[in-house]
């Protein structure tokens, strides 16, 4: 409120002059006053016609909705709801455009992000390889590689939704970024491009350590990213450790390839040294399957692809890739298996043949 101190006093002379101004007695004419009063009276008599509408809640609601701002807002909410329902519980990768073009033939080369610092931080020199340790995996996952548990959950969800876990779907679900192109899809459907393959160190990327770099690259890459990303991220992650295939439930390591230089493989002919292509295939396999104790022995013969893995000349495991499942028989453990969709099995088999010429 105004205090007397704040309110400047009225100038008595000016006020007096105002009172004696020629228009001091000016007033509206009687006709003007009558017109105004008449309109005022009519205004309060007219409304009864609108009263019923005002009393009707539905009419009031309709009138409210008909107002442009409300109608526009309502339409926006409806569209958002419709889009949300259409995409509800649907994997985002299904909606992304798929490309059948092999990765190696792509001309557009999307920028590949460098591996995140945390992924590179624990990196060790190739000369000092470290065994894959669960603790390190957890630690890495708790820092910048935090998406890893999320990816596991997504993988579980994807597996539950699709019992015959397809290679592509499982791979997609494992990525922490659902919108990223599937890393294994291209590799599963197309042979790995030799030009994109080189991994200078010859060591494989550990899933836990390589995940951040790979996922970061996947987030920034386009449809051709998977194969290239894997190839480019492998050198950076190779020094971080090895590859471990784990059982689904217990998480027990079934096969740990800690120092790829000491490993070799044998499929049909003589034993040969571990190659980056085979390492990538193992990563792809690990992403595609969930191991569990085998309820049936691996087929001994037939049109199956078999792969023996040796370490320092000692057989460590045998893999048998069937038409609808894959078996892993460790030298010192119980046989494990994982079901596969026929298409995924065929794809894995084709990739294996390419990786182990």
């Amino acid at each position: 409120m105004t205090t007397p101190h704040d309110d400047p006093a009225r100038d008595a002379w000016l006020s007096e002059a105002l009172r004696h101004a020629p228009d001091a007695d000016a007033a509206p004419s009687a006709e003007l006053s009558d017109a105004i009063l008449r309109q005022a009276r009519q205004a309060v008599k007219a409304p009864p016609a609108r009263e019923p509408a005002r009393a009707n809640p539905l009419a009031q609601l309709w009138a409210w909705l008909a107002r442009p701002p409300v109608a526009a807002g309502f339409a926006t909410v409806m569209v958002a709801t419709l889009v949300g329902v259409m995409w509800w519980d649907r994997p985002l990768d299904d909606a992304l455009p798929r490309s059948d073009t092999p990765a190696a033939t792509r001309t557009a080369d999307p920028p590949v992000a460098p591996p995140p610092p945390v992924a590179a931080a624990p990196a060790r020199a190739p000369e000092e390889p470290q065994a894959f340790e669960p603790e390190r995996k957890k630690e890495s996952a708790n820092t910048a590689a935090a998406p890893a548990p999320k990816g596991d959950r997504a993988r579980e969800r994807a597996t539950e939704r699709r019992a015959p876990a397809a290679v592509t779907d499982a791979s997609h679900a494992r990525s922490d970024d659902a919108a990223a192109p599937p890393p294994a899809a291209a590799a599963a459907t197309t042979p790995p491009a030799p030009a994109a393959a080189p991994a200078p160190t010859g060591e494989i990327a550990a899933p836990s350590a390589a995940a951040p770099a790979r996922d970061e690259a996947l987030r920034q890459g386009s449809g051709s990213a998977p194969a290239r990303t894997l190839a480019k991220s492998a050198p950076a992650a190779a020094t971080a450790g090895g590859l471990a295939l784990r059982a689904q439930d217990s998480g027990t390591p079934l096969l740990t390839i800690d120092e790829p230089r000491r490993w070799s493989w044998q499929r049909d002919a003589a034993m040969r040294a571990m190659t980056p292509a085979l390492q990538r295939w193992l990563v792809q396999l690990d992403r595609a399957v969930r191991w569990r104790p085998a309820d049936s022995p691996p087929p001994a013969a037939g049109p199956h692809a078999m792969l023996q893995l040796w370490r320092d000349g000692v057989p460590r495991a045998t893999m048998t890739l069937g038409d609808d499942a894959v078996w892993l028989t460790p030298a010192d453990g119980a046989p494990m298996m994982a079901p596969l969709a026929p298409a995924a099995a065929a794809s894995l088999k084709a990739t294996l043949i390419t990786a182990t010429p």
Binding site: T2, P8, D11, W13, S15, A24, P28, I36, L37, V44
Partner: protein, 215 residues
């Protein structure tokens, strides 16, 4: 005998409920002051539009009766706000430039009483007793009134409206600020500028009565 006249707000609320007599009371209370306010704001050049603006203001009151609510401002303040808006509309329609900034011509320096103000001739005018008993004094004040209207027209609209609301319609300064939809200090500054200019204008053109009467 004390009378319990309903307040403006109560009358307006009654009119919103359909009581036409409440409006008549409101109109009777404020029609003269509002008419003068509109007429003086428009000035002599647009005097002919006074009726139109005045009627339009009251029709706005009629139309807004159901939406009106006393939210901090009195009915009278709101009424003068409506009238002020209508005047601005009319001035713009007539092609006149309406300055929103009342101090556009005054620079940034705050007003301070000048020597001309402190020794102005108006200070030697007849005492504003309110009842001019002397014929000569009455004639003087009538001339002063005429001159004041001419001086008013030289003021920017914001200063003119602040002065009229404060001096003629009797609004307190915070009500003036509310009616003009400006801050308190802004209203206060506008009023001080207006009073200073009017004093100067009046003193320069109207000789004190003691020096020989009005010119």
């Amino acid at each position: 005998m004390p009378t319990t006249d309903p307040t403006d707000d109560a009358l307006m609320a009654a009119y919103a409920r359909g009581d036409a007599r409440a409006f008549e009371q409101l109109y009777a209370r404020h029609q003269a002051g509002l008419y003068r306010f509109v007429r003086r704001l428009l000035g002599t050049a647009l005097n002919a539009q006074t009726d139109e603006v005045f009627q339009d203001t009251w029709l706005r009151v009629v139309q807004a009766r159901t939406r009106w609510a006393p939210q901090g401002a009195s009915f009278r303040t709101w009424l003068y706000t409506l009238a002020h808006h209508r005047v601005i509309d009319m001035l713009r329609r007539s092609g006149r430039e309406v300055s929103i900034d009342a101090h556009a011509d005054d620079g940034d320096a705050p007003w301070e009483p000048s020597a001309a103000d402190s020794g102005a001739a108006w200070q030697h005018w007849p005492a504003p007793s309110g009842a001019a008993s002397h014929t000569e004094e009455l004639a003087f004040w009538r001339r002063a009134g005429e001159k004041l209207l001419a001086c008013l027209e030289q003021l920017p609209l914001p200063q003119r409206s602040a002065f009229l609301l404060h001096h003629d319609d009797g609004l307190a300064l915070d009500e003036v600020a509310s009616a003009l939809e400006v801050g308190f200090e802004t209203a206060k500054t506008r009023l001080r500028y207006a009073m200073s200019k009017l004093r100067t204008c009046m003193g320069a053109h109207l000789a004190p009565l003691a020096d020989g009467g009005a010119r």
